[in-house]
């Protein structure tokens, strides 16, 4: 499986945020996108996920086969918001996303155990702390299988232990042949990653 981007240009509100960005990621490779605020890191992730159109350039996924015909269909997107309903319990939230995403990988309970929250599955999501919410959101990546993870500041709100644990999860995902594109300021604890530094559009 190969995710490649050539000469991508990102625009928001008619203004060019970045241009000429390109990368190629094979199975088991990760890309860390760094750069100052406003350089277009989040925009790049949203463009890759097809949530924003790219103004120029080419974006493609090879080797996805019938299961993943397009880039979007192969992506998990962990955005700045957690995409959980505060009125529903943690298990209900995860259960919903699992059946909506399809391709179940591990059960909701196992995913919660992986992020160390197996005891709070019955609580409404609104009762959780910021870090716990983020961990539930990370558990969402595990309940359904997607080869490409797009992570936008994945570790915001996490403590040191959870950060290390999340690095472990990402390593496992890469070992299984996954692809990760992460936008972050903090080191993710991954060895041998490609780095893309964005300086913003001049």
């Amino acid at each position: 499986m190969r995710l490649s981007a050539e000469n991508i240009e990102g625009r928001r509100g008619g203004e060019t945020i970045f241009s000429g960005i390109g990368f190629t990621l094979g199975a088991g490779e990760a890309l860390v996108v760094t750069g100052p605020n406003g350089a277009g890191k989040s925009t790049l992730l949203r463009v890759v996920g097809g949530l924003l159109p790219h103004a120029a350039g080419r974006l493609s996924l090879e080797g996805g086969g019938e299961e993943f015909p397009s880039v979007e269909s192969a992506c998990h997107y962990l955005g700045p918001d957690n995409a959980m309903k505060t009125a529903l319990t943690v298990s209900e939230n995860l259960g919903f996303w699992q059946s909506f995403f399809g391709r179940p990988q591990v059960s909701v309970m196992e995913a919660l155990e992986t992020v160390g929250l197996e005891t709070i599955g019955h609580l409404p999501f609104g009762y959780l702390s910021t870090g716990q919410r983020r961990r539930v959101s990370i558990a969402k990546l595990l309940v359904s299988h997607r080869p490409v993870w797009l992570l936008d500041e994945p570790t915001s709100g996490l403590d040191k232990r959870s950060e290390a644990h999340f690095s472990e999860l990402m390593r496992t995902h890469l070992e299984e042949g996954g692809i990760i594109v992460a936008a972050t300021h903090l080191p993710l604890g991954l060895e041998s990653v490609q780095e893309l530094r964005m300086e913003g559009h001049q």
């Binding site: 949530l51 924003l52 397009s70 979007e72 700045p80 309903k85 009125a87 529903l88 919903f96």
Partner: protein, 221 residues
């Protein structure tokens, strides 16, 4: 898709009681009319179906603006759009509309016969009004979804959605009320306006979700 339906119905019933607010608003509209027009029982019976329809129409517009806005605020909308290969966006919108209708509009239809008594309507008139509401209100939800999708990015889009949607639901109101009248006033037909009402619902069940999906696809900035 069933999971989405169940989640939305649950949210509608659980969070803030959207269903109950709609019914209360409906009750408020119906209860104030007799004070406004005076205690003329014949007049109330005559305008009853129209008042029921207008009350239900306004009450069903109440929660519509939150249909996609809530999803957008917590980031769920991104994931829904991201998975459009697996679940066609128009189909997702259709299911969300059905869930919204079940949780917020169906209680209005159920309450309508009771409110019909307030308006001194005959039993057959009440039955006709409830039946026309049952088949006509889905049309309001479907076209409302398109309005909600257009206004999804606006922080105070609530009133805008109502203003956008109202002109489009006028035909539904006209045929709904004329079918209700047809059931009690003998020279007027019941079946013809009722069938047109059904047709409107079916027609908008296709157009509404497709239009809403188009608006959502281009509104994820």
């Amino acid at each position: 898709m069933l999971a989405l339906y169940i989640r939305d119905v649950r949210l509608g019933i659980r969070a803030g009681g959207g269903a109950l607010v709609g019914v209360l608003f409906f009750l408020a509209v119906i209860a104030t009319i007799p004070f406004g027009v005076g205690p003329d029982l014949n007049l109330l019976a005559r305008i009853g179906p129209a008042i029921l329809w207008i009350g239900a129409l306004l009450a069903s517009l109440l929660g519509l603006d939150r249909l996609f806005q809530a999803e957008r605020e917590d980031g769920s909308l991104d994931l829904i759009v991201l998975n459009h290969d697996r679940h066609m966006l128009a189909a997702t919108v259709f299911v969300k509309c059905l869930a919204h209708w079940t949780a917020s509009v169906l209680p209005l239809v159920v309450a309508a016969p009771l409110f019909g008594l307030f308006m001194n309507m005959e039993p057959i008139g009440i039955g006709a009004a409830a039946l026309t509401l049952l088949v006509g209100t889905p049309a309001i939800t479907f076209i409302g979804a398109a309005g909600a999708a257009v206004a999804v990015a606006l922080p105070r889009g609530g009133l805008l959605v109502s203003v956008l949607v109202l002109p489009l639901v006028i035909p539904v109101l006209i045929f709904g009320v004329s079918a209700s009248y047809g059931a009690v006033n003998s020279p007027n037909p019941f079946l013809q306006p009722f069938l047109i009402l059904c047709a409107l619902s079916l027609f908008l069940a296709v157009i509404g979700p497709v239009a809403a999906a188009l608006a959502l696809r281009h509104g994820t900035d």
